[in-house]
């Protein structure tokens, strides 16, 4: 399938509504991602899920805030921590979970797995298991939009760890040089796998890296979904207006391990506990909205059910034929 002509149909649930209704919508989606990923952890521990799994619990506001600001036809490239981005870009939880179970009904039909979630129809050009591996292609997709005069933007998600890899620097340099309509969304969770910032980054403010290439860079509280949404909207306008790419630094935190099962010997438990208490993006938004217990429980039950249903859907999915492994090598 080519992403060339047909613009992605606007998903109904993406229609923007005003004020607190919109924020409630964001909360629902963040909660879905949270419950989905908790379910992933649970089913992995039960021995049902093959492969390597990385959840983004604590980082939901970035995925939702960015993806909700996108227009139809905008595309993303994700990372090994891709469930949230994929769900926020509109892929049904059933299709994501089915992929994690290696089923034909999965969004990559069982060929990709957790680290390679694709949904081209919805503008997800793929999650990449090589840190920084997807950044250059986002420059290329944005270049294609620029050459065809299409008002579309290509968005790369990546972490702080990726800002140390060559593709990051080559991609940002090229993107700014050619002023392509791209967003580089850095989810700074302060750990590259298990290695803390202090051991992998000689500077604290990563916007300096983008500024070194002459790129507009903004910093946002990645635990505040409204702030992420508004910042992304501005950045998208900048890119869409032909002003060039934007680097969006979202300061966030991963509340669970690098991978499911990570004992997290590299950081103090108190640090995690404190962030969970004060900086959980879902709790923060719930408090901001002053939801009644009833409303919260209703929302939570809905998200929990969707997550649970996705497991049921996936388990009833179809196993690929082993020999189908030989398909899709060439177009």
């Amino acid at each position: 399938m080519s992403i060339r002509c047909p613009r992605v149909a606007r998903l109904e649930e993406r229609e923007q509504v005003a004020g607190s209704e919109r924020l409630k919508d964001f909360l629902r989606e963040m909660l879905l991602i949270r419950r989905f990923e908790e379910k992933v952890e649970e089913r992995f521990r039960a021995g049902e899920l093959p492969g390597f799994l990385h959840v983004a619990i604590g980082q939901e506001a970035v995925a939702v805030g960015v993806c909700r600001a996108l227009e139809d036809g905008d595309v993303i490239a994700s990372t090994h921590r891709a469930h949230g981005h994929t769900l926020a870009k509109g892929t049904h939880p059933n299709e994501v979970m089915a992929e994690l179970y290696g089923k034909v009904e999965g969004c990559s039909h069982g060929y990709g797995g957790s680290m390679h979630l694709y949904d081209v129809e919805r503008g997800n050009l793929g999650a990449n298991a090589v840190v920084g591996g997807g950044l250059p292609a986002i420059v290329g997709a944005a270049l294609a939009f620029q050459l065809r005069r299409e008002p579309r933007v290509a968005v790369a998600f990546f972490g702080d760890g990726a800002t140390n890899i060559g593709t990051f620097h080559e991609a940002l340099n090229l993107a700014q040089l050619w002023k392509v309509p791209a967003l580089f969304v850095c989810e700074n969770n302060h750990y590259a796998e298990s290695t803390p910032s202090k051991q992998q980054l000689p500077i604290e403010d990563l916007t300096k890296r983008a500024e070194a290439y002459g790129m507009t860079a903004v910093r946002v509280d990645g635990q505040d979904v409204e702030a992420v949404f508004k910042t992304t909207q501005k950045a998208l306008k900048h890119a869409r207006d032909g002003e060039g790419p934007v680097f969006v630094l979202a300061e966030t935190y991963r509340l669970t391990g690098h991978y499911v099962g990570d004992p997290q010997v590299y950081r103090p438990k108190e640090e995690v506990r404190e962030v969970r208490q004060k900086q959980d993006p879902i709790t923060k938004l719930r408090e901001k909205l002053e939801l009644s217990d009833e409303e919260w429980e209703e929302m939570d039950a809905e998200a929990t059910k969707l997550a649970q249903d996705s497991v049921e859907f996936a388990k009833q999915g179809t196993d690929p034929k082993p020999e189908d492994a030989l398909k899709n090598v060439y177009a």
Partner: protein
């Protein structure tokens, strides 16, 4: 029939595609005003302008990666890597990204990207500007690998590479750029994966690529004097390999020699030798011979370079060994 040099033939395929198709464009440093380090893209900037003949920074990862992204988004980019040796810098993008997007997405994505590169010994470029690395890419499922030896093949195969929906590594040999040859008046696509008998013969099949096709011709002419009739089989595409006519040729001649400029050990020729023994073992009158570079980096001093890389005399020696006339 008009005559074009190998260089002009490559340029002609790109220019024709760009005239016909807005989706085709080229990227790489030095390709615009300078016309490419080998002069291949000369004049293209004037015809197509800087938006489609894109001079770029020296950023192999980003350029190949940008080609991938543009291809996924529906364009047909041609990316040049100035020397094959520099594909090493883009290896991650070529091997993990370009070759695998279609597969990992379960068939959702196409990557119609052409990566042109050139190389080869001669002129003493030394160890980092003359390697022949096609075997590395033949080993990667998801990539196609093309290596033309004549102007006609270069033009027809580059056209097909541009219009193939898969990533194609298109290898050019530096010493062939000046080689002239007749080409059809109208550009005729040559199917990827179709081999060509370069010269017919009866006694031994020489499977040769790139420069070695021409070395094999010289060897064949010499062998003729000794009454040995050499068939030269040019696969033109290394991946996918046109196996059937290759095996048919070996079954006819009962002897096979593989000749390429790349290092012999673990080279592409080893795969051909394995294939021939699997599919034509009972027809073989002699072991499959291999001709290639010695197992060393390419040296600078011309006398050493000459010693390391294969020439017509090496092909001739292998042919004579095969027919038992050493």
């Amino acid at each position: 029939m008009p005559e074009l040099s190998y260089r002009e033939a490559v340029r002609d395929a790109m220019s024709e595609a760009m005239r016909r198709d807005e989706d085709v464009f080229i990227m790489r440093e030095d390709i615009a005003e300078m016309g490419g380090s080998m002069g291949v893209t000369q004049g293209m900037l004037d015809e197509f302008g800087p938006e489609r003949v894109r001079n770029s920074p020296i950023s192999e990862m980003a350029i190949v990666g940008a080609g991938i992204g543009a291809a996924v988004a529906g364009m047909r980019p041609i990316v040049e890597i100035m020397y094959q040796d520099f594909t090493t810098l883009a290896m991650e993008q070529i091997v993990n990204q370009a070759a695998k997007h279609r597969y990992m997405s379960g068939g959702q994505i196409k990557v119609p990207l052409t990566i042109r590169t050139q190389g080869g010994a001669g002129w003493s470029p030394g160890a980092q500007h003359a390697q022949q690395l096609e075997a590395w890419f033949v080993h990667v499922p998801g990539l196609k690998v093309v290596f033309p030896s004549t102007p006609e093949d270069a033009r027809g195969l580059l056209w097909s590479s541009i219009y193939d929906d898969n990533p194609v590594l298109f290898f050019e040999h530096r010493t062939l750029y000046g080689l002239k040859g007749e080409v059809p008046k109208e550009l005729e696509p040559i199917e990827i994966g179709k081999a060509r008998i370069h010269r017919e013969g009866e006694d031994v099949t020489v499977v040769a690529t790139g420069r070695l096709v021409h070395e094999a011709v010289a060897a064949a002419e010499e062998a003729e004097k000794d009454g040995i009739s050499v068939e030269i089989f040019d696969p033109r595409t290394l991946q996918p390999l046109d196996e059937e006519p290759l095996i048919a040729s070996v079954k006819k001649t009962n002897r096979c020699v593989v000749a390429h400029e790349a290092v012999t050990r673990m080279g592409w020729g080893a795969e051909v030798a394995a294939l021939v023994q699997e599919k034509a073992f009972d027809y073989l009158d002699a072991p499959v011979g291999r001709v290639g570079a010695k197992f060393t980096p390419l040296p600078f001093a011309p006398v050493m370079e000459e010693f390391v890389i294969p020439h017509a005399k090496d092909v001739l020696a292998a042919v004579k060994r095969a027919v038992g006339k050493e």
